[in-house]
Assembly symmetry: D2
Homo-oligomer: 333 residues x 4
Amino acid sequence: MGIRVAVAGASGYAGGELLRLLAGHPEFDLVTATAHSQAGQPLDAVHPQLVGLEMTFAETVPDVLAEADLVFLALPHGQSAALAAQLPAGVRIVDLGADHRLADASAWADYYGGPHAGAWTYGLPELPGQRTRIAAATRVANTGCYAATIILALAPLIAAGAAAPDDVVVVAASGTSGAGRAAKTHLLASEVMGDLSPYKVGAHQHVPEIKQASGATGLSFTPVLAPMPRGILATVTARPTGTVDPRAVLARAYADDPFVHVLPEGRWPHTAATLGGNSCHLQATVDVDSGRLIVVAALDNLGKGAAGQAVQNANLMFGLPETTGLSPLGVTP
Amino acid sequence: MGIRVAVAGASGYAGGELLRLLAGHPEFDLVTATAHSQAGQPLDAVHPQLVGLEMTFAETVPDVLAEADLVFLALPHGQSAALAAQLPAGVRIVDLGADHRLADASAWADYYGGPHAGAWTYGLPELPGQRTRIAAATRVANTGCYAATIILALAPLIAAGAAAPDDVVVVAASGTSGAGRAAKTHLLASEVMGDLSPYKVGAHQHVPEIKQASGATGLSFTPVLAPMPRGILATVTARPTGTVDPRAVLARAYADDPFVHVLPEGRWPHTAATLGGNSCHLQATVDVDSGRLIVVAALDNLGKGAAGQAVQNANLMFGLPETTGLSPLGVTP
Amino acid sequence: MGIRVAVAGASGYAGGELLRLLAGHPEFDLVTATAHSQAGQPLDAVHPQLVGLEMTFAETVPDVLAEADLVFLALPHGQSAALAAQLPAGVRIVDLGADHRLADASAWADYYGGPHAGAWTYGLPELPGQRTRIAAATRVANTGCYAATIILALAPLIAAGAAAPDDVVVVAASGTSGAGRAAKTHLLASEVMGDLSPYKVGAHQHVPEIKQASGATGLSFTPVLAPMPRGILATVTARPTGTVDPRAVLARAYADDPFVHVLPEGRWPHTAATLGGNSCHLQATVDVDSGRLIVVAALDNLGKGAAGQAVQNANLMFGLPETTGLSPLGVTP
Amino acid sequence: MGIRVAVAGASGYAGGELLRLLAGHPEFDLVTATAHSQAGQPLDAVHPQLVGLEMTFAETVPDVLAEADLVFLALPHGQSAALAAQLPAGVRIVDLGADHRLADASAWADYYGGPHAGAWTYGLPELPGQRTRIAAATRVANTGCYAATIILALAPLIAAGAAAPDDVVVVAASGTSGAGRAAKTHLLASEVMGDLSPYKVGAHQHVPEIKQASGATGLSFTPVLAPMPRGILATVTARPTGTVDPRAVLARAYADDPFVHVLPEGRWPHTAATLGGNSCHLQATVDVDSGRLIVVAALDNLGKGAAGQAVQNANLMFGLPETTGLSPLGVTP
């Protein structure tokens, strides 16, 4: 018997992707998947792509989860803190929600509201020193999907003194699965297909998370909903603080990372190439006209932006090779 | 008999949209549509949406075009100058290509190459004083589709002294029809669906046009190909130079314009709402974290970005009401 | 002042398309648009494509509608009968719902349930003799969108004795707007994009309507939801009862119809060519291997399948040219 | 060192999917990937989703391929026979092209033309007795993607005497990757998105293959191009020859097959659930009105319809468990 794993909130899109990854993981054994309104349903009635997985959704209650060695929380933002507080200290937890990401209680209050649950170890292994902290942690806060994309593009440039942290401008577009599975009119296929629509312009809740982990001090972030199921493409620009080659800085920073790929010169990231894989693709240049640094990052919001990242973190927490059960390869076209 | 109209290069996407608009125009009578490789084909064999239009593509030669009162040139960039030079002075021409947009010969050389044909009257009626110039012109250079979107978002803010012209950052995504109808692998549906891909990052040929007409002096512009047939969404940010409300500036600038709509507060432009119409939607705010001005603009790249704009310019050139044969309403969903 | 028009249930997709068509109609003047939960909202808050239409949704109550000369009912199936019964006899009504389509009360009971409201004049002008009946009617039941597509493909072949009526097999795929605007999980963009899904296999409520109007006596109809906002493509097959050319039969039947186009040989209908227009495209052949007749029909489910058809019917009811305010041209790409 | 594998024609879509599957296969070691015009390019320049695979495309010449234990031919139809003839008898070959599928030389001549290369063992392991034949073969002809879908839906019903073989009607829609990667105008994203288009109506080259393997004697097959990258949905109808439950027949036929899933009653196959997996989903019913049997089948044309199937066949040819390196799970949404 391997490591016993439970997934709470497994009826959503990130939950479904987690179940898929766990089904192919050689060390993690799924013992429980819980859901709220769909408790009692077979997994593949809710996730028809998981055909043949013989299991039924349980209720999301602490007792069921407490028997696992590892619990993934894939609940709506604001719901994981209360549940996590009821789980034994010995159970390792990766929270895919936002509850434990922010160290700054006032930022939490501004953007999410409600009581601040306190920060856990931040689950982005590619940040300097972070692998060690994750490996030592029993509680890890997985990154947000936008945040992961933008931080991976930006953090090394600020850390290297190549980019000014005070005037970062980001426009990032996401596929619809990032908005979740709740039935909302503006997420209907009829509304989304053929459409690009910005949202939360001027004030997005991911801004404090991005600043906290990237070192940015001034950030304009505009998110856009794009007509595709998965994928985030972030265009990140910043003023340079010297004459360094931004691509070289990124290539150095991620030279040993199996899941962050700085593409060869002349090739730019695009989302389809990351679909289904645990991989972030990066490329950078200096804008001819403005002199700004431009970094483009792409990843699968359900992969390296959520479920893949969560498995990567869990691998570290259990001392497994970081790549266990994960592939950087995308499913394209 | 109304005004006799010819369309050169009518087998492409902008050409097809022009033919559709002309079919519903009460004063313009299509007498000739020309094409290159598809000369001799019925219009609706090439444009199956134009079912029932009884006409055959002619060869693109000056003699045929010279008999019209009005010629639209919808040719690939670099091909209209030579043809236009062979048409009589009395024929009014709207060029949808780039050949006559740039006043600066060196910018033309840098981004397009080949001899510079010289600038014609710039066909964006919403710029201050431009309606009068267009009405007096016999030669008008229609805007580029990206350029129209970005200039409409930006020019009033710079003109009003509300936005700093030297540090403008734009990320704009376009539907695929903006890339034309030539068969290229990267434009195949299998490649594009589910994908967002940036291109010409760091140096795009529309930069000089945007700067020339908007007043921007420093511009970082990143274009992205989006998985939809039509539509451009531009996110334009600039540092403020005071404390003005950017939405109010735009609303004032476009108060009398029938085809530019500053949306009510709280509603943001999105591309689907502009599909098939001759309309640009705008909204603006001040970013909470960075203080930057953010303007979002949406239009149909084949409508207000190309064919609709061209008809609007032609209306002015013939002293017709600007809205003749045009509607701002979109075809949605 | 022209003919005063009201649209009840104008917040849905068919309602929005009706409002768009009415805005360009030279004889029909929109005086009232009603909605249920969105009463009090501006039209363009609900339909952002209708930018600039200055009107607010009223409550859907008989008093408001009774003041119009012409009322379009674009309500959910089962809701129009009660409302129609409260409107004065002198008001002309086109019902876009299913309530008054079926002559057979037991078929109504089997597929829809609830009391049968009785049949109105069937609103498909291209059926033999139907134009005259519609012109004389004050109450017209607009066709269903699938039904219109399939009937136009099939009825002339059965009427001409070319196709056996007892073994018709239809597979038809529809864009998502045909499923309405209610927020349902299976209609989310994340579920629909990249997906083809059959539904109501083996028993669809449109079967009796199709049989009633086409002459089919045995019909296997499988509908499929397709990843596009609009459009229906129906593949209709039947055993031949002789050696006639099915295309010739269709061409003869629709020779004088402005909105049904039998394409030239070798060209097959596809949905994009019909988007936004009031047009049904048809083509037919005999299958080499099986000898079956195959007819393919395409139309825009919101155009010739709903709102366009409704305006066409209303034109006839008011003695206007059938094509008033309507175009067969599509908006493509 | 495991089994040495070469892929010829690996620059196309099926080739790319094969490379992805081989990268995760524990026994097959990719030693060579060949391409025509892209020889010399890194794999991930052509297939950006295969990021990090360090290999360069070789020329497609026999010498290179002859060193492998197993060769997959993923060449355009008509090109594999000549190449295969030059490979040593001891090399096992799976041909993903059509060259060796048909036993009937005249059917080959009618639909493909050119010399008939002769039939190889047909690579659909789920047909009765076929696993044993594949395991014993050194040459296997992989199925066509449409053919696999339709045969899996139909063959057990005809074999069981439940469906009449002489009047089968099929409408099947495919994602665009089934049409290959060559740049053609009608496959451009601008043409395909929002569009359903039938093609080869009345005479499709897959008809003889479907008849040969399913037992059908009369088949009307209409293929439709759908706006999605992957997936085939086939609606297969036939007259019943008794009163059997078609679902029960299928469930019995595939009870032991790991990659064919007859869904629980009430759930219908849809393509997205099969994306990226090696799986065919089936459901069946009897049509209420016509009495026809209706079977719906879905699979990923690049998965169980091509590359996944090829690996499944190769597993059998090398005595490996049939499921080695393959998963039935889909990547959804």
